[in-house]
């Protein structure tokens, strides 16, 4: 992901894992399993959850009431993961997620956080001048939309359920999934129709 690990760091990690194993706190297998599930996670999971919620009212209600249960229905193992909260945009209200204290992110359903999400600039500015941040993203909200910045400070992880854009009537779950980007799930962007579809 970033710079290669230094040999002394790897040696330290080996000793740390061995110490945890000796105390019966974690096994090598558990670490490997967690690493594999984190590597498998990608924003497409979150996007599919959103698409299904747009198509299936029962799933939408489950998603809002218990994000982890909704993720499990998608085949994601949420065992040991923090609870997942889902923030529903509606006409007049747009959500934007940030973690000002560190970089809490719903990894189970969005994968690894992008670098900008962890930057001091995003963390400081999203909570103070969200409109300027969205403008730099090129994101234009409908007039008279209030912004609700969700600072992910504690035990939950948060994902946005954006509004389904007009022009997607009759679309399949796959088609809808394809227009929900990672950025839309954090709230810095909105789902957008491909130029070709929008022109039809």
């Amino acid at each position: 992901m970033s710079a290669p690990a230094r040999p002394e760091s790897l040696a330290l990690l080996d000793k740390f894992v061995a110490a945890l194993a000796t105390r019966g706190l974690v096994t090598e297998q558990e670490i490997a399993d967690r690493q594999a599930s984190t590597d498998r996670a990608s924003p497409e999971i979150g996007a599919r959850m959103v698409a299904r919620a747009w198509l299936d009212e029962g799933y939408r209600r489950l998603l809002l009431a218990n994000g982890a249960a909704a993720a499990e229905q998608m085949g994601v193992s949420m065992a040991g993961a923090p609870p997942l909260g889902v923030l529903e945009d509606r006409p007049g209200l747009h959500h934007l997620v940030v973690c000002t204290l560190c970089s809490c992110y719903p990894r189970a359903v969005l994968g690894y956080p992008p670098h900008w999400y962890k930057s001091f600039e995003y963390r400081a500015r999203a909570v103070r001048e969200p409109r300027a941040v969205l403008a730099e993203w090129g994101t234009t909200l409908p007039p008279a939309t209030q912004i609700r910045v969700v600072d992910s400070t504690a035990d939950y992880r948060w994902m946005v359920l954006p509004m389904r854009p007009p022009g997607t009537e009759g679309w399949s779950e796959d088609q809808l999934t394809a227009i929900v980007t990672r950025d839309a799930l954090v709230g810095v962007a909105l789902p957008r129709l491909p130029v070709a579809a929008a022109a039809e």
Binding site: P83, G85, L87, T100, L101, V127, R128, E129, P130, R131, Q146, I147, R148, V149, V150, D151, S152, T153, A154, D155, Y156
Partner: protein, 102 residues
């Protein structure tokens, strides 16, 4: 354990700065200390991170989702914009009626 505050209750975040007293790990952002907000939801009970971080026994504490108006916090911004933040119960105190009116 039951939640002391119900959704809709007006609260104030304690104007406390433990980081000035020594090493600590707190999940209450500085920009909310002393600020008033409204309980939006009770999120559940979680081990107190302030103890977990130091490997101390961590009693479970009620965690709330608290809604704040955004412009008063920064003295800038757009009316109607808001902040929604997870705050543990031991950081909350009731907002006094006088301060609510202010």
């Amino acid at each position: 354990m039951t939640a002391t505050f119900a959704p809709g209750a007006r609260i104030r975040i304690r104007d406390d700065w433990p980081e000035r007293r020594g090493p600590c790990h707190i999940r209450t952002p500085h920009y909310l200390r002393g600020r008033e907000g409204t309980i939006q939801a009770v999120l559940g009970e979680f081990p107190n991170p302030e103890d977990l971080a130091f490997a101390r026994p961590a009693p479970r504490r009620t965690l709330y989702h608290v809604l704040f108006e955004q412009p008063p916090i920064w003295a800038e911004g757009e009316a109607g914009d808001s902040l929604l933040v997870e705050i543990f119960e031991h950081w909350l105190e009731p907002a006094t009626p006088a301060q609510e009116a202010a």
